[in-house]
Symmetry: C2
Subunit: 232 residues, 2 copies
DNA sequence: CGGAACGTTGACATATATCAAAGGGAGTGG
DNA sequence: CCACTCCCTTTGATATATGTCAACGTTCCG
């Protein structure tokens, strides 16, 4: 059983941005700070304000990290899938989680103990540099989110989101088909709005002949105009 | 002249979050990567998308880091004063600045060369840990900004801002007086709105007897109700 | 002194949230 | 295999916060 657990741990280390390039010695050490956690869809991992005694790496499944308003509206900060880590920054600032986290799809998580991790950071500069890189990406994403929330309307944000999705599949000739990996309710919260408004934004793009929508399947008919709406 | 420059450099190192605790050897090395820059109010240090070849530490004055919408509205991400650094994260993500920066008050800046700094990071784990701490604080602040922008109205954000300002002066008995350190135009952009709307929010708080406003001087008459509006 | 930037106020436009309702799909249980 | 429920999604009518535009007084600084 222990060997099985170790195998899983190593697997998750390998697919994670943060740890994939560490040498065996560091991984041994890391293993001592890690444990596995299996969590069903819907489970709340922590609330904003909870004491942060550990952080997480996703092995399987999906987790959302979000802020909640007093009256219940939520804004998703990020969605973490396999290989992604989250709540790392909480370890270094006051020891409280600055947001909440909930499992979106049955997940297998690596739980890494804060104190042991921090103590091994000092001995492994390589991890520190990985962490810095990771934080930089996060900062970049959050800065972008702030700008989009404050400076653009929902349709523009949706256009940006769609462009991001298809960038991965390069510029194959139109029409490009993509399947949303999140429910539209989740997407709405990620874009800082509500399902009703998101639905109307999809409508608008459809009416203008830029996309077609069939459930979670989106066809991009006119990438150029989509770019235009997104603001280049 | 060289000695004078060195003196200033050391002074800025000492007041900076990032470097104040480094030993002399590290500071010597850092000095090799640093130069001083005197910039008048209004100067644009870089635009979003520019190649990031260096980052900055403020010795004197004030700088705003902001996002611009296609039609000219701006959202300030942060304001950096003496001791603060900015644009550090740009070094590690694609080498492009994710936002623009402009000098708000005549400033003396430390300009730190990216490549030399990164190369010395590998030899000085202490700096890496400081950087991680710095990034964590930034992430925390940006996450908070995202939540506030998306989940609360302008008056609430203003209340949060005011509470932050007075937290420093602890809970002396009311009324507490504070002087805004930024022009209201700047404050509006920091709170994700425009001067007109900010002005009306000040009005609302004044009408309800929670604060009084006289130019940049704000008196907090009722901290409890201000907390209530801020959402605890 | 005079112009420019700032701050405030008013009337108005608009994007988006809210509320209510109804139509699917997917899964469950009989 | 059907019926039922739950959740997601969409649509419509309405409310509201905030942005826009215009005007005016103030302060600041050359």
């Amino acid at each position: 059983m222990l060997r099985t657990t170790g195998f899983y741990l190593r697997h998750i280390f390998k697919i994670s941005q943060l740890f994939s390039r560490l040498d065996d010695r560091a991984l041994d050490e890391l293993e001592q700070a890690s444990s596995l956690k299996n969590t069903p869809k819907g489970e709340l991992l922590f609330y904003e304000g909870d004491a942060a005694t550990s952080f997480f790496v996703v092995g399987r499944g999906k987790v959302k990290v979000f802020k909640l308003s007093p009256d219940g509206k939520e804004q998703i900060l990020l969605i973490a899938g396999p290989g992604d880590s989250f709540a790392e920054a909480a370890m270094f600032t006051g020891g409280k989680f600055p947001a909440s986290a909930q499992v979106l799809e049955d997940a297998e998580l690596l739980v890494i103990n804060r104190d042991r991790f921090v103590s091994m950071l000092e001995r492994n500069p390589g991890i520190a540099l990985n962490l810095i890189a990771e934080f930089s990406v996060l900062l970049h994403k959050l800065a972008r989110l702030v700008g989009e929330l404050s400076l653009t309307d929902v349709t523009t944000r949706l256009a940006c989101y769609l462009l991001d999705r298809i960038e991965e599949k390069a510029a194959s000739s139109e029409p490009i088909t993509l399947t949303l990996s999140d429910k539209k309710t989740v997407l709405a919260s990620l874009l800082g709005t509500i399902p009703e408004t998101l639905s109307r934004s999809f409508q608008k793009l459809t009416r203008d002949g830029i996309i077609t929508v069939d459930g979670a399947k989106i066809q991009i008919l006119d990438t150029d105009r989509l770019r235009e709406i997104a603001g280049e």
